[in-house]
Symmetry: C2
Subunit: 392 residues, 2 copies
């Protein structure tokens, strides 16, 4: 009776329960302020609106039946309209595929686009969920570093000039997790040009784009080329429990994803997809709702950076968050954040060491801080605890 | 820019959009009575109860947050208690894993349990969703025929005696789809003994077991051995849109499934899982609700078999449904049901030719009829149209 077959052993090697996930279990203690999570604030999720939308949706028996693998038609239409506005071209419904959160879009796409051993370019630091998927697919992974303007496209060009031929380049283009940065407009254009020139797919993974604080985000990479597959979800603006994500891709990609989705789980929930369609269609309410998340997260982000800069001064550099959920910080002395973590937990504060997101080179003096689920006073207290730990 | 990579081409070969699915598109015409579907009746789904449970669940912000990959704890507890009663031993929560419908349980299990080329035994005729999953996993598939008492375990024993060493034996043990039959108690026991003796896993796929008409079903195969992994869901008794299925398996299997689930789609919906927990916990209401489905389906099943037997007499044999959703019928003359189908559609009735479920030998004179979504008068009219087509 075989359980860990050789094939599974390979897959599991790529899917080891992530360091973040294991850490989250340790930081659930009441006396620890956790900036280690990566969750949106449940208190900001529209419970009453979802309840009303559910009650209305349930007047139609069809929302309780199996639905199409590609998604509930009403939701696909709303997403097509929204994405058309973002991408700047008319996106047909046939190019919209609804998934069980955008993680499923990523995992189904990896199956569609990657052969074993295919080259995938990721960012360093990387979104851990993408690393898991690409490793499980047996991809060869090469990482390109981020700087303050996102992925170093010049270094990607160097790789291409050296003869590397990626099947896929994956980027969290806006308000990067964990890096906090946004890919600059000229880099977006250049990345799309490279995809066209070299025949690779770009997966533009964009769960955070709506969460800008002061100014809307640049046009998506997908606005520059049809070889860019866009992924997003409502998890960060409505609720992860709707389990609604999507991909925007050429129809032939969507049809291949559809066959895999049928085998994977048949279809999504017509009920949660109709609720989502209702909320996304009420554009006045949605604008106010998302604005209030932006305001709250923006206030928290500024409180955290202010506390960090006031407290640590020249000892720590942190990103200037313009949106999203994360701040990326770097100790400018020799503080090793993995070594510091147990002391920090003792002092009552948790974060994720940057090494958890590093693809190749470990970056021992970096850390990711999530500001979404703590108010300003709590964030200030967290920083006070962190400096106490770092000065011990 | 590669789309259909060699690996994908292999997977898609196993995942060709099923004949049933393609057929369903053709039979959605208003003038066709479709007995071709495989859907529960949406009119019998508890819309009001789900609306109330949703409203109550949404008082807790936690139901809108990401949840554990293994499932919302309250639901895992309810399922553990229910399955304990069915299997006849105390099933710990650690052996309960919630999935996005039982199809996801099957696809994740195939990844965990099967290496490329591993032998899987299925039933013939087979559940098409299982064939898709096992083909996509690159399994070598051998089919064992059904008779009136379910899988021919004697023929499975012949295969084992001939040296075949399956990794997995898959059975829809109760109210088979499409075969309509139920595995007899002594065969259940023998199958479990063989699993123990030869070290293979049994996947007991049981979505229909609650839908008995006159008498409860035999003890599950899983009651005879821990090497039997049980799969079920609430899709047929509550609603497919809850997307709640589960597997009951040894903890080591559940932990491997958990790692794959994280990469596949992170987690399910705490909201629909809490709704499901609420409905399953209200046992008085549930008993009445499920009884009413049983009564309705039982009445429809009898109406269909009565009409078939009255109309076709000795020309057609059909199963005597004791539960579930399907009748399996066989023309005793040379009627080829694939050839007949276009004429039947012209006459205004649809069914699925048995060939769509055949693993190896085609069975040209068989057909599957679903009785769940038509009332008695409609079923009688469907049979009248079928005999007209078959006599043309």
């Amino acid at each position: 009776m075989s359980l860990t077959t050789p094939a599974l052993a390979g897959k599991l090697a790529g899917l080891q329960s992530s360091a973040i996930r294991d850490l989250l279990k340790l930081t659930a203690r009441d006396d620890v302020i956790s900036l280690a999570g990566g969750l949106p604030d449940a208190a900001l999720m529209p419970r009453e609106r979802i309840a009303v939308a559910a009650e209305v949706a349930l007047r139609d028996p069809a929302v309780l039946q199996y639905t199409e693998s590609a998604g509930w038609p009403a939701l696909r239409e709303v997403i097509a309209a929204r994405e058309s506005a973002k991408i700047g071209r008319a996106v047909p419904v046939a190019e919209v595929f609804i998934t069980h959160g955008s993680q499923q879009a990523l995992s189904l796409l990896a199956e569609v686009l990657l052969d074993f051993g295919a080259l995938v370019i990721v960012e360093d630091p990387a979104y851990v969920g993408a690393l898991q998927v690409f490793r499980a697919a047996g991809a060869r992974i090469v990482a390109v570093p981020l700087d303050g303007e996102g992925m170093r496209i010049d270094l990607l060009e160097d790789l291409l000039a050296a003869g590397e031929r990626p099947a896929v380049v994956h980027t969290v283009s806006t308000f990067h997790n964990p890096g906090g940065v946004t890919l600059a407009p000229q880099r977006r254009r250049r990345l799309a040009e490279l995809a066209q020139a070299h025949g690779f797919w770009v997966i533009e993974d964009d769960p955070y784009g709506e969460l800008w604080f002061d100014a809307p985000v640049p046009a998506p990479v997908a606005s520059y080329s049809p070889q860019v597959i866009r992924l997003s979800s409502v998890s960060k603006i409505l609720s992860p429990a709707l389990r609604v994500g999507w991909l925007i891709a050429p129809e032939k990609v969507c049809r291949a994803v559809e066959l895999l989705k049928q085998g994977a789980d048949l279809c999504g929930s017509a009920l949660t997809q109709q609720i989502t369609a209702t909320l996304l269609t009420d554009t006045d309410w949605l604008a106010t709702h998302v604005d209030s998340i932006r305001t709250t997260y923006g206030t928290r982000a500024r409180a955290l950076t202010t506390a960090l800069r006031t407290t640590f001064a020249d000892r720590l550099h942190c990103t200037d968050p313009t949106g999203g959920m994360f701040i990326w910080a770097e100790f400018l002395d020799n503080t090793d954040t993995s070594t510091l973590l147990p002391t920090a937990l003792e002092s009552g504060v948790a974060y994720v060491p940057g090494a958890a997101f590093a693809f190749a080179d470990t970056t021992p003096n970096t850390l990711r801080l999530c500001f979404t689920t703590s108010d300003e006073a709590t964030l200030a207290e967290a920083v006070a605890r962190l400096v106490k730990a770092a000065s011990a």
